[in-house]
């Protein structure tokens, strides 16, 4: 941590050259590089969004939302993918919300410092870093093959459960942070009135942590909605001519459909892929907006 450009020998002999103008020039160069990097990053993002809007806006029409995939790009639509994604999100929300919040309540409110708690915490840390395609391989072996009588093989249920496992660590971490932000005086007040731990958590801590929890859950769901690799790994296919009718139906999802269209050689399919991306991104932005709304309301009331 020595200041650069100062040499002890020069200082001792009285010839210390501050070289201020040179150092200020270096400063300017560095500041320019930092600003340039930020601007370049933002410009690349703008370029990405711009290309997709240019390619995709032209082919968005009512037919695009109500039609099934087709070999002719002008007739192709995203109806099964849209419904598949909605079904998937219902399964993911219904399983990961209670499990993630329950696990976080256990870790934050009930757990004592024992081997089980430490084990769970290490596992959550590691699971957050596992590539999503590995979850796909787990889903392929466990949900699609071993549990086939329950899940129906390549089905909405298999896909949803795989994605649930993928986002559980995210939900647990976010919920724990929200629970930790609840002031301890609130718990103590509950105990002073004679409530036991669960009654305090259920009637005081959880309601006041809820906006934070919901923010975390929605952000986690918005991650699940764009995941492609695990769904391909468990065998979701793009060419399906029906919407799911039960949890055991075969399905396709928005990212799978987009992947399939991007991979085709004809340029017409690329532009409907861009249209699909626009629809997906609008869904994501809406979810993010809801999450930000919850976060702001949360911050105002405290």
């Amino acid at each position: 941590m020595t200041a650069q450009g100062i040499k002890g020998k020069d200082v001792a002999s009285g010839n210390f050259d501050q070289n201020l103008s040179g150092r200020y020039n270096l400063d300017k160069l560095f500041a320019t590089a930092a600003w340039a990097a930020t601007i370049v990053s933002v410009l690349i993002l703008a370029w990405l969004l711009f290309t997709i809007l240019i390619d995709g806006l032209g082919t968005i029409n009512p037919n695009f939302f109500t039609a099934f995939p087709s070999r002719k790009p002008e007739n192709a639509g995203i109806k099964p993918a849209l419904f598949g994604t909605l079904w998937l999100m219902m399964v993911v929300a219904a399983t990961s919300f209670p499990i993630g919040v329950g696990a976080a309540i256990y870790l934050e409110e009930f757990a004592t410092d024992n081997w089980f708690t430490r084990m769970v915490e290490i596992n959550i840390g590691n699971l957050a870093g596992v590539p999503s395609i590995i979850y796909g391989l787990l889903g392929l072996a466990v949900f699609k093959r071993i549990m086939e009588p329950i899940t129906g093989g390549n089905s909405v249920l298999s896909g949803g459960l795989t994605l649930s496992l993928l986002i559980l660590p995210v939900i647990i971490v976010a919920t724990r942070e929200a629970l930790r932000a609840v002031p301890n005086s609130m718990r103590l007040a509950g105990f002073a009135l004679g409530a036991n731990k669960w009654q305090v958590v259920w009637s005081h801590v959880l309601p006041s942590a809820m906006p934070g929890v919901l923010t975390g859950v929605i952000l986690a769901l918005s991650r699940a909605i764009g995941e492609t690799a695990p769904l391909i790994a468990i065998g979701a296919v793009a060419f399906i001519r029906s919407t799911p009718s039960s949890l055991q139906s075969p399905f396709t999802a928005m990212p799978i459909q987009i992947y399939n269209w991007v991979g085709r050689p004809q340029a017409e399919f690329h532009s409907i892929a861009a249209s699909g991306i626009i629809v997906l991104m609008v869904m994501l932005l809406l979810m993010n907006a809801v999450a930000i709304y919850f976060r702001n309301r949360f911050q105002q009331t405290r």
């Binding site: 930092a34 499990i99 870790l107 590539p131 391989l137 009135l193 036991n196 690799a229």
Partner: protein
Amino acid sequence: MTAELPLNDIAPGTWRPNRSRSQTIQLIVKIICGAFAAISILTTIGIIGTLIFEALSFFGDLPGELSKDGQDVSYIQGVIHFLTAGRWTPLFASKQFGIFVLISATLMITFISILVALPLGLLAAICLSEYASPKLRRILKPVLEILAGVPTVVYGYFALLTVTPFLQLFLPPVEGFNALSAGIVLGIMITPMIASLSEDAIYSVPQSLRDGSYALGSTKRETVWSVVLPAALSGIVSSLILAMSRAIGETMIVTLAAGANPTLGFNPFVPVMTMTAYIVQVTKGDAPHGTIAYETLYAVGMVLFLITLALNIFSFWFVRRFRQKYD
């Protein structure tokens, strides 16, 4: 949040709350929540278990697949073949299983992505924390987080249909599928992650350190370079390693833009096949359970899992070892 005490209809002294029932409910809830927490352990066991189980049966079947030419192959030779062979052709008639072909492609693309993301991300983090006004910081931070949440299939579209044609304008040897464009876009994808996490680390360096450096006569760049960055080093390195591990496990960009041609070598202009792209290629066409193709999935998955796990553990260790604590 109202207290549910029946104040009006109970005479003083006769209210008897059912404590034992409350305690029973609490015990049941505690057990259920504990079971939910245990799911994370079960997931880890499930991942490691399936990977090891199928990878072991792969190595069990490997000698049989390799000895079709006539001579016998031992298990040890099978493992050596897996690690050193120069070709990866498990779906062809003459099967070769040289995992290093896939690893080399993954490494090359990850290297290109870090080359793009490290300077961009780190400089953007410095800019946001040290140079930008608080107002701009408040705007750009959420933008970074949204950028980090863009689905990877979107980046794949961008790499294949925008960046590759753009590169071909300047570099004619670039082919339709290539490692260069996949690596660049992968770098763009992990830049927000590096920027956001490094910015947290740089921003949390106490102001007193900067003031001390200014008091000694340093300029702003000297302060950032020789005081702030060393103080935030553990956070910066861990963000870099996490981003690297993300890049290695990333699937859609490389599947769409880098192609599906397992070649050994480090030429970024030609199609290559990464570990993740191989998994997608096999699972897309149905690979029945019990075939060697199905088992290679888990052998490749095992290698991928071990690499990312090693990186994550190294990152945790590095943060614990080098973190500076300021009160």
